[in-house]
Amino acid sequence: MADGSVTRAPLVVLGAGPAGVAAASAAASVGVPVLVLDQAERPGGQLHRREALGLGAARPHGLDASGARFAREVTTLAALPDVRIASGVRVWAARTGTAGLALATDDATLGTVVSEALVLATGAHERTVPFPGWDLPGVLTVGGAQALLKGQGVLPGRAVVVAGAGPLLLPVAAALAASGAGLVAVTDAAARTRWIAGGLPALPVPKLVEGARYTARLARHGIVVRSRTAAIAAHGDGRVEEVVLARLDDDWRPIAGSERTCSADALATSHGFAPDLAVALAFGCRVTGGVVPAVAVDADQATDVRGVWAAGEVCGIAGGEVGAHEGTIAGLAAAAALGASVDRRRLERARRLRRRDEPFVAALSRVLEVPTAASTWAGPDTVVCRCEEVTRGEVDAAISGRGAGDLRSIKLTTRCGMGYCQGRICAPNVAALLEAATGAPPSDAGALSRRPVLTPVELGRLLR
């Protein structure tokens, strides 16, 4: 990992979304110098994405209340003398060494960043259930459509189907409608009643009001959100031209005869999120959870690896506010471990806030659950691992025919998860196929994403 320069910092925070910024602010508030590394050109993570700086927007998008609060927090943080926020920095390898925790970056000046303590706030990416045609150009994730719109001011198409599940669905559909994209259909795979079944009392009222507001906004554009409906196929010559929608039963099995085909030039589709575990796994942090694993942490957000804390979506999908609470705990706990004087009452207050989130987090995880039967949307020839082009048929054959009983065996037999994306996209889907076949989630969660080198990197860099 010797790449010329070495930068040392007592505390490094990886990721500048809500959790990372809260962690850095908390640690800096008790006098610990912090280096924040983030791959985006400015802080915000996926939640508070802004238009690209280079666009030179004379009238930038209006920020919502939480975005404005976050922006103020970043301004305050960045102004502190012992805080440095390094944007546009990517990490390509991570390991524990005698000198501390080392992150190899692509930044020539920073080089390898070595710290005594590290807060991982690497966030999450979306999960999309595979179906025939999901790899056609013009099919993108709901968050991908959002990033294009918010970051670049570009629509995914003129006639767009938004189909999926999870909290991004309605806000993104509403934003697309408001920006002039023609919405052909907006469908939610889950039943409307899931919010009640999932534990409605646990969901904060503002969240429900927010959902109702998006539905109302879509209605103003003449769009009715269809629940228990999914995009189960996309067709077209080299790009999306048609999308097949179908009604679903309670287990998300398409109801025969309910299919409708509509013309569209884009399909935005995703079904929730998966924590980005690459760096955590590289450090050897323990992960828990079957189909969609997350980093395991204690009440102080400490992982089982000495010196490594984790906060936000990487510890489980819970949203930005919960992530910020976790960030504060992680930042204070890491600062205390570094010898800073931390008021125990402050740490206890932060922990209490996080405990209060617990019913919401539990309800959200029930609401976001993707039924195993959704893995039947893919046909035998449907690619499940997009990078290595491994089909559902090949994965099924590895499980049933060759007795692959865990993710690692499937990976070794089929090459699933060995491609560029390092299993980020296929891992939950392969795990779901394994669960569908064996009745139990994989015993080796995270196995598709465990690698020594975190990113495609030219050989010269490794040999240097």
């Binding site: 700086l53 666009l55 990416h125 993108l140 670049q152 009604r247 509509c262 390092q422 980020r424 495609p456």
Partner: protein, 128 residues
């Protein structure tokens, strides 16, 4: 289920006639875009504005397929849009392979679809 009112999609096929840039509608105020320039994709000129990514500029002008997969020969375009999936790999001449969704477009770039023998650009790393 009621019929999801089919709409005729735009039929641009990479000839750069359609433009998907938001021109200020609804509650999204127009981005006052910076100066325009061109780069080429597979030899055709593509218009871009300062600050746009290669992927956004291509999509905005109607180009959806960015590469062809090596096994099945299937076309791929922007998918995750945030640098996680690596579907949108393209090769920038004299630079190397990059993710179109993350890499800013620049005047005069000559870009072709990614092929296996192309070398990764320094630092088209990953994710943090």
């Amino acid at each position: 289920m009621p019929d999801p009112e089919p709409t005729e999609p735009s039929r641009s096929t990479g000839t750069h006639t359609d433009d998907l840039r938001v021109r200020g509608a609804g509650d999204r105020r127009a981005l006052d875009r910076g100066p325009a320039f061109t780069f080429t994709f597979e030899g055709s000129e593509v218009l871009a504005h300062r600050g746009e990514t290669i992927g956004a500029a291509l999509l905005a002008t109607g180009v959806r397929a960015l590469r062809t997969t090596r096994v099945g020969g299937r076309p791929r375009g922007l998918f995750c849009g945030i640098g996680a999936c690596f579907d949108c790999l393209v090769t920038v001449e004299d630079v190397g392979v990059v993710r179109a969704c993350l890499t800013p477009a620049a005047p005069g770039q000559r870009i072709v679809p990614h092929a296996l023998e192309h070398t990764l650009a320094p630092g088209d790393g990953m994710t943090t």
